[in-house]
Amino acid sequence: MNSQIANLEYEGLEELLGQKARELVLAIDQGQLHTAIDLINQLQQARHQVFYNEVGHLTRGLHEAIKSFSSDIGEKIGSRDVVSSGMPTMSDASDRLAYVIELTDKNSHETMDRVDKSLTLVDRLDHQSERFRDLLLLVGQLEGDFKALDGVYDRTCMVKNESEKTVAELKSVLTEILVSQSVQDITGQLIRRVITLMTQVETQLVKLMEMASKVERLSGMDVSKKVARESKVAEDQIKAQGPQLKNKEANAVSNQDDVDDLLSSLGF
């Protein structure tokens, strides 16, 4: 009788209830009060057992889903050259996200290396422009002596000014490229937030699985199915709050002007 209840599933509950109810009515009709009470206890036990078994199923299902998600993602990411060369054994999603931060960081620095190099070249152009000015002065002096050079000085000056303007523009664009690398910081902070969230979910999941295995032991479920306990717990507790998603945060300012307004209202 007890083993019938111990392995009871939700699907079998109704049938069991019907059967026990009929037995209960029969027992009462026959005046067997002791058997009737026993049947009521069994009914109660059946209800609890179904609940416990369902929790067990749910937990195992969750565990399996996360395991298959993990290996699925692992296969997909692992097949890409950029990752397979550097990270052959990425074991969980947090590691992968941390790796995204690492990659974008590396990429940003490489971009900035190139910007720095370009700025050096711009400096060289500036320097060449100075030498050009010296040569131009010479042309200016010669202009008086050679009629054929008439107007050459002015025209060359114009070209030189245009060129200096272009160089200045180039320099400002390069600075913009440099500053735009700050997106790595913003995305990195957001990813860290997700990592923190995932770590919390993982910790809660481990607790849930521990709870489920207790339920299974208490209810005498098949031990061979017991959920493998995960011991990996929050190793990287980042307390960071991260950037606000401005359109979602009701009380966040949306740009530097708002910050300036707020500060000036505070007497800044």
Partner: protein
């Protein structure tokens, strides 16, 4: 404005430290130290010689707002102007920073013009 003053840039992202350093260099400030959070910044500050502090808010270890409070509560450091450069954009946070004694507040992502303007403004007020 003295260009040889020593500046400390505190941010946990090396990308951001580098950007700020480069913009400072554009402004003529080349004497720049770096730290990756408040905890590593404090010993550098306590060695003295830092005359301007630029810090992020959100960092592991010690946050920028805690660093700001430490700086303001230390008589040796209290005079140092502090510019906060951060993605934290809640009104309460900006007000909290102002109350803690910040000298300027720039939200990320920023433009070169904005950052330079805020830095220059702080130096104008000091001198």
């Amino acid at each position: 404005m003295k260009k040889d003053i020593k500046i400390l840039v505190v941010d946990d992202f090396s990308t951001m430290r580098r950007i700020i350093k480069n913009l400072l260099r554009d402004l003529g400030f080349t004497n720049v130290d770096e730290a990756d959070d408040g905890r590593t910044a404090l010993p550098i500050l306590k060695q003295g010689r830092i005359e301007f502090l630029i810090t992020d808010w959100n960092m592991p270890g010690m946050t920028g707002i805690d660093l700001l409070k430490e700086v303001r509560s230390d008589p040796e450091l209290a005079h140092i102007p502090v510019l906060m450069v951060t993605a934290e954009a809640k009104r309460e946070q900006i007000i909290a920073a102002a109350q803690a004694g910040v000298n300027g507040y720039v939200i990320k992502p920023f433009t070169a013009v904005v950052l330079k303007e805020k830095i220059e403004k702080i130096f104008e007020r000091i001198s």
